[in-house]
Amino acid sequence: MGGRTASSGGSGSFGDALSRAAAPIERARGLPNACYADPAMFEREKARVFATTWTCIASGRAVPAPGDALPVDHLGIPLLLLRDKAGALRVFHNVCSHRGMVLVSEPTRCRSVIRCPYHSWCYNLDGSLKATPHVGGPGHNAHPALDRRQLGLKPVRSAVWLDLVFVDLSGTAPDFEDHVRPLRARWHDFADRDLHHPGPIGSFTLDVRCNWKLAVENYCESYHLPWVHPGLNSYSRLEDHYTIVEPGAFSGQGTRIYNPLLGQSGRRFPSFPDLPEVWDQAAEYIALYPNVLLGAHKDHLYTIRLEPRAADRTLEHVEIYFATPEALEQRYQPMRDALNQTWREVFEEDVFVVEGMQTGRTSPAFDGGVFSPAMEAATHGFHRWVAERLAGPDLALIG
């Protein structure tokens, strides 16, 4: 494999590579190959990129009813999403406090408690310890050596926004509201809307043989649109696009001309109520670092949660939400089908690109590449953010 690795490069060569990625775009080089293909670097990303910020692990719609529990393998750590009796979504480490048994191994609906399948210790839906059967001997359900108040499920700091469930494994990231404040401000027209999901037709997953960052990078920029998505030019041309960069938070692209036809009838989906006129023909596509891709339109919003499975494999979980409940009515079904098909085709058109770039990162003739200062500031903004997080506080980057 080409490129420097975290283990072989030390702080010198690898640090230099990170510094180059964080340099001004005219002088910058992309992240080195190791950041895409080296399993050791993937492990470093888990600790430095994902564990220390707000990372998306699921959609809230996966646990729709009180008592619903969903096990999640988050970068190798077993977590449990749980909707409590009041309807609030909680995230816990999915292990029993007794002997570390995984509590829930498949989606389930808990009626009143979560019961460990090993010794049947039971937890309330708020995570507190409810029962420790026979722990003091047969038929004795307490023991003075065990402080039940200290033995509840271990909570994970979590937040929900746009039906996306985020966690901060470190517990030390800035407040979630601070994390999303820049995007919430930009998208204040969409940020707190009710979203309406159509069910299975609004969900699909792509299994892509690429590093998760390539999916982000490709999503951020419009430069590739006329070559990879020629169909989009019929309603959204390259010259109508603009670049979005919010350093340290998100980046992406927007279009001033979004007006797709989803059938011959000329009918449109209902728009979000009271939406400012600017959105009549505009749309924006933003990557909220690290692993959420979003698309906002006057009539629907989609989310893509990137689930890194390995250095060279990523699952892309797509959820499409509509602006009004009317869009879920039967008369809109052909248009919903068409919208699903449209986005599926667009995202599938990107697969050969990101998989091709993944293969390219095994080449000794490539180690980061360059950016178009005119077209790829969004991608570079993401590289800079990753480089700074990988470098950590002990490495001063070139500003």
Binding site: R111, S112, V113, R115, S120, C122, K130, A131, T132, P133, H134, G136, P138, G139, H140, N141, A142, R148, R149
Partner: protein, 88 residues
């Protein structure tokens, strides 16, 4: 076997068979009911330890199944026998 012991032995055998069958089928609601009945059987015979073992089994399956009426009744019985943790 003494004559009076025969019905009790039959009842116990029936409960054991039912419990094994419910375990095999994964029918936790039935397990809660049968274990509670087994606890009553032992309690009537003044075998407190055995009763509390069965009541504990019944309590856990009742909690799992969301049968909170039965669960609370069993908590009361176990509590009266000093087998529950002190209130938080």
């Amino acid at each position: 076997m003494p004559e009076a012991a025969a019905p009790a032995a039959e009842r116990r055998a029936r409960l054991e068979a039912g419990i094994l069958d419910a375990h095999a089928r994964g029918d936790l609601a039935v397990l809660a009911r049968l274990y509670a009945e087994a606890g009553e059987h032992e309690h009537a015979a003044a075998r407190t330890d055995a009763a509390c073992f069965f009541w504990t089994q019944a309590w856990i399956f009742a909690l799992d199944q969301g049968d909170l009426t039965l669960a609370r009744d069993l908590e009361d019985r176990l509590g009266a026998a000093g087998r529950m943790p002190p209130p938080a």
